[in-house]
């Protein structure tokens, strides 16, 4: 699937309409679309719930972590999976990394996980998972403000 496969699906049209930078930087669709999980869950390989610390009490959020839409709460949630902040997003042997995107007001919007080839995997809302080559290809989510890593 993805660009170059010869078949241009409706999903790809929807993805590229929302994230036009992906057209130039390249990406591959790697799953069907689903509402069973979102990017925050997918960043830690969880596929059984939609994670979000909303005040409506609708999303899953680890009960021991403050239910707040702050970068601090997201860092604490990922700390449960042994992730800790680090300074660079480069691929490091023996480590896994997550990038947390924030909008212009500093509110988390998205998370992506680094793959062993240095690319990144993102679940796009209720749309598909994609493999993308750069964190900069999803500026609609804001900027990748925090990088976390853990030992494999």
């Amino acid at each position: 699937m993805g660009k170059g496969a010869g078949i241009y699906s409706l999903s790809e049209q929807e993805i590229e309409k929302t994230f036009p930078n992906l057209i130039g930087s390249g990406y591959t669709v790697t799953s069907p679309e689903t509402t069973e999980y979102n990017c925050i869950a997918w960043a830690v390989n969880e596929t059984n719930a939609w994670w979000w610390p909303d005040s409506f009490n609708l999303g899953y959020w680890p009960p021991q972590i403050p239910r707040k839409e702050t970068i601090d709460a997201f860092i604490k949630a990922y700390a449960l999976f042994r992730y800790a902040p680090c300074k660079n997003l480069q691929l490091e042997a023996g480590f896994e990394k997550i990038a947390i995107y924030v909008d212009s007001s500093g509110t988390p919007t998205h998370a992506a996980r680094q793959l062993s080839n240095g690319h990144w995997t993102s679940k796009l809302g209720r749309l598909e998972d994609i493999e993308h080559y750069s964190l900069d290809s999803l500026p609609e989510y804001g900027t990748a403000a925090v990088i976390l890593k853990r030992k494999k």
């Binding site: 409506f56 999303g59 899953y60």
Partner: protein, 150 residues
């Protein structure tokens, strides 16, 4: 008084018009396209935008399409729920409940805040939060108990 479509005449019977409709007997994509455009033109004439908006089904589906297109890529439940089209669906009140439950029978989606807001109820136990399939089942069970689903 003749209508192009008896369904439309039922919705908007007071418009006194004569419309002659020809069957699409030609073969080919161009003919199909012309026929579709012709039907759409008649529909626009028979059901003006103001009337469309007053029809709950049309209003719900118009808002739903707008909301889904604008929020498909979002993870934030807050952002998904505060979208203006979603808020307008909440503003429709209890009349929107059958439409929302019907949607849930087809696809699990983020309809739960709308249902909570409109009904003031929450049949979803804490352990089901974030698990959209289970949340959907909880709300559909509620819909049956309340008589919204037969």
């Amino acid at each position: 008084m003749t209508y192009a479509d008896s369904r439309l005449s039922a919705i908007y019977p007071q418009r006194n018009v004569l419309i002659i409709v020809k069957d699409n007997t030609a073969i080919g994509e161009d003919s199909d396209r012309l026929n579709e455009e012709y039907k759409r033109t008649i529909e626009h004439y028979l059901i003006p935008t103001t009337t469309r908006w007053a029809n709950p089904s049309i209003r719900f589906n118009t808002l739903k399409a707008e909301w889904e297109a604008a929020t498909a890529h979002l993870s934030s439940i807050t952002e998904i729920a505060i979208h203006p089209a979603y808020q307008q669906i909440i503003g429709m009140g209890t009349i929107a409940i059958p439409f929302i439950l019907s949607e849930l029978t087809k696809n699990p989606g983020h309809w739960f805040w709308a249902l909570k807001s409109i009904t003031g109820e929450d049949p979803v136990p804490p352990e089901h939060r974030g698990r959209l399939k289970q949340m959907t089942e909880d709300w559909l069970k509620w819909g049956k108990e309340q008589g919204y689903i037969v």
